[in-house]
């Protein structure tokens, strides 16, 4: 089976989520990549070095510069004439593009796969991760998105893919990119961090988030996260949100501080290797999934922890 993997990149480097998608795709057969964008020679070269990669299709065109699905999906659909499966990471970019590709191909997409059980059989979470469905496609071609935390990342070296330019596609003329506000962070990316320190509503303010959560994260070299309640209350930007409707993470250690543990939050972090919860309510549901729970006032316990670790 020939599989085409969407390479998510920032114009210069391949994003980690792509590497997990490559691992999932390699379980299906031959792995080809698609690098689309403007001025993506460097990304194409980096992509060709990913272990296990065959061909790297490069579509260098200003129309693909901002991943606009109206322009990108027809390009992918055309390349799918010579591929059996399209695989994208389940990032906001992948989720935006892949279903548009699936409908153009008249196939059902299988979203956020957790495992490959057979050539057309996969597992995926439903009901906010409260159930796992094993599903089998009957479509001629597969369109999949891959949950990044469920697969190992492919090695970024050792591969020797051949780079091939694609001339197909262009601007569909129905959408354009206006601008972006990307939150600046000097710390690890949330979805690939080994340690995450997350704060909830109990913090009470953005000042307290800065004062209590940030120093612990700084000390551990951790990424910062938050519950939806903390985001909605304006303590942190919304891309900090961990949960069913935010980011799905599975770090080695997840600190849930002042987070009660609603099922929508648990859906985003319950696959973490170790969960540490600090909450003053000993009945908070977070303690049912926490490996280490501390019932304490976070305003005194967290600074003490930061000082002692």
């Amino acid at each position: 089976m020939k599989t085409l993997v969407w390479v998510e990149h920032d114009g210069s480097a391949v994003k980690d989520a792509t590497l997990a998608a490559v691992t999932a795709a390699s379980k299906l057969g031959e792995v080809h990549l698609l690098v689309a964008g403007e001025g993506v020679e460097g990304v194409a070269k980096a992509a060709s070095e990913i272990a296990g990669v065959g061909k790297v299709h490069v579509a260098d065109n200003v129309a693909f510069g901002h991943n606009l699905p109206e322009n990108v999906a027809p390009l992918v659909a055309e390349l799918m004439e010579s591929h059996d499966a399209f695989v994208a990471p389940a990032t906001t970019t992948g989720k935006n593009i892949a279903p548009r590709v699936a409908a153009l191909l008249d196939v059902m997409q299988i979203s956020e796969i957790l495992s490959v059980e057979g050539p057309k059989t996969f597992t995926r979470p439903i009901y906010a991760g409260n159930a796992i469905a094993t599903v089998e496609s009957s479509d001629a071609k597969l369109v999949l998105t891959v949950r990044g935390t469920a697969f190992e990342k492919a090695a970024t070296s050792g591969g020797s893919g051949t780079v091939e330019a694609v001339s197909a596609g262009g601007d569909a003329g129905i959408s354009s990119f206006v601008g972006a506000e990307i939150a600046k962070q000097d710390r690890p990316e949330l979805t690939s961090a080994k340690i995450i320190v997350s704060g909830g509503r109990a913090l009470g303010s953005s000042e307290k988030y800065e004062e209590v959560i940030v120093p612990l994260a700084d000390k551990l070299g951790a990424a910062l996260g938050a519950s939806r309640a903390a985001v909605d209350a304006g303590y942190v930007p919304n891309d900090y949100q961990v949960g069913q409707t935010g980011k799905i993470v599975a770090p080695e250690v997840y600190f849930a501080i002042g987070i009660s543990g609603a099922i929508q939050h648990l859906a985003g972090m319950k696959d973490s290797k170790t969960i540490v919860a600090i909450n003053k309510d000993e009945d908070a549901p977070i303690f049912q999934v926490a490996d280490f729970g501390l019932v304490a006032d976070l305003f005194s316990a967290v600074p003490e922890l930061t000082g002692k670790i």
Partner: protein, 249 residues
């Protein structure tokens, strides 16, 4: 312009789903069902556009069992003008829902279709994008702001890392993210009024759409259970546990 708002009846988001013992699915017998939360946001946004004078009529659509009428009545009570129920007892996949919506859009000629970004039961996050592909319209997914300006709409989208804004030619498809708005509650008088608003009942066959599933559910199981953890007595004990795991600065 007219706005089409697809809504789905799902297990209420506060209910903890239970997997059936025979592994065929999640038990939906005698549990509270509600409008998918993202769809409430879609209805609210359509109403706000009508209140601003941008929209003239709001048509709510649902594909589902007879009981999905209740979901449509909720949309009507919030402020939608009329509703279409495409009635079927089969579980309809996003691709088939998108095909039904495409047929309805062909007839209704809306300027915007506003959907929720995903349904909280199947967590697919596909229908809006698929409808956009089938209609050939532009898509503004995961919207946190929607501004119609003349013959285009600016949609601010929640993306990994922050926000981005795209400009889409109308007609267009928008899918809502949680922070787009705070949906209103239907007042009692409006709930009463909604009972007399028009609600057409159709079937998938009326739109020539085959709803046979492309994806077979082989089984549904409980997620792996985390082994029970321990409660530590104080910060010192927690520090010791973390250091034993190799977590330190």
């Amino acid at each position: 312009m007219k706005i089409l708002v697809p809504v789905k009846r799902v297990l209420d988001y506060n209910v903890k789903p239970r997997v059936k013992a025979d592994g065929t699915g999640v038990d939906l017998a005698n549990v509270k069902m509600s409008m998918n939360p993202f769809d409430e946001i879609a209805v609210e946004e359509a109403i706000r556009l009508k209140e601003k004078g941008v929209a003239t009529e709001i048509v709510a659509v649902s594909v589902g069992p007879a009981k999905a009428q209740e979901t449509l009545r909720t949309a009507l009570a919030m402020g939608a003008d009329r509703a279409i129920l495409v009635q079927t007892d089969d579980a309809v996949e996003p691709l088939a829902v998108a095909k039904i919506l495409k047929a309805i859009a062909d007839g209704e000629q809306p300027g915007l279709v506003i959907l929720g970004k995903q349904a909280i039961d199947d967590d697919n996050n596909q229908t809006g994008q698929m409808l956009a592909a089938l209609t050939g319209w532009a898509q503004g997914t995961f919207a946190s702001a929607v501004n119609v300006e003349g013959d285009s709409v600016n949609v601010t989208r929640e993306v990994d890392g922050g926000l981005e804004t795209v400009k889409l030619k109308l007609p267009a498809i928008v899918t809502t993210d949680l922070r787009l708005n705070e949906p209103r509650y239907a007042s009692l008088p409006n709930i009463m009024k909604a009972k007399s608003k028009p609600l057409d009942t159709k079937t998938p066959a009326d739109y020539g759409v085959d709803t046979a599933p492309r994806v077979k559910t082989v089984k549904v199981s409980e997620p792996p259970v985390r082994s029970a953890g321990i409660k530590v007595a104080d910060v010192d004990e927690l520090v010791a546990k973390l250091k034993a795991m190799g977590v330190h600065s």
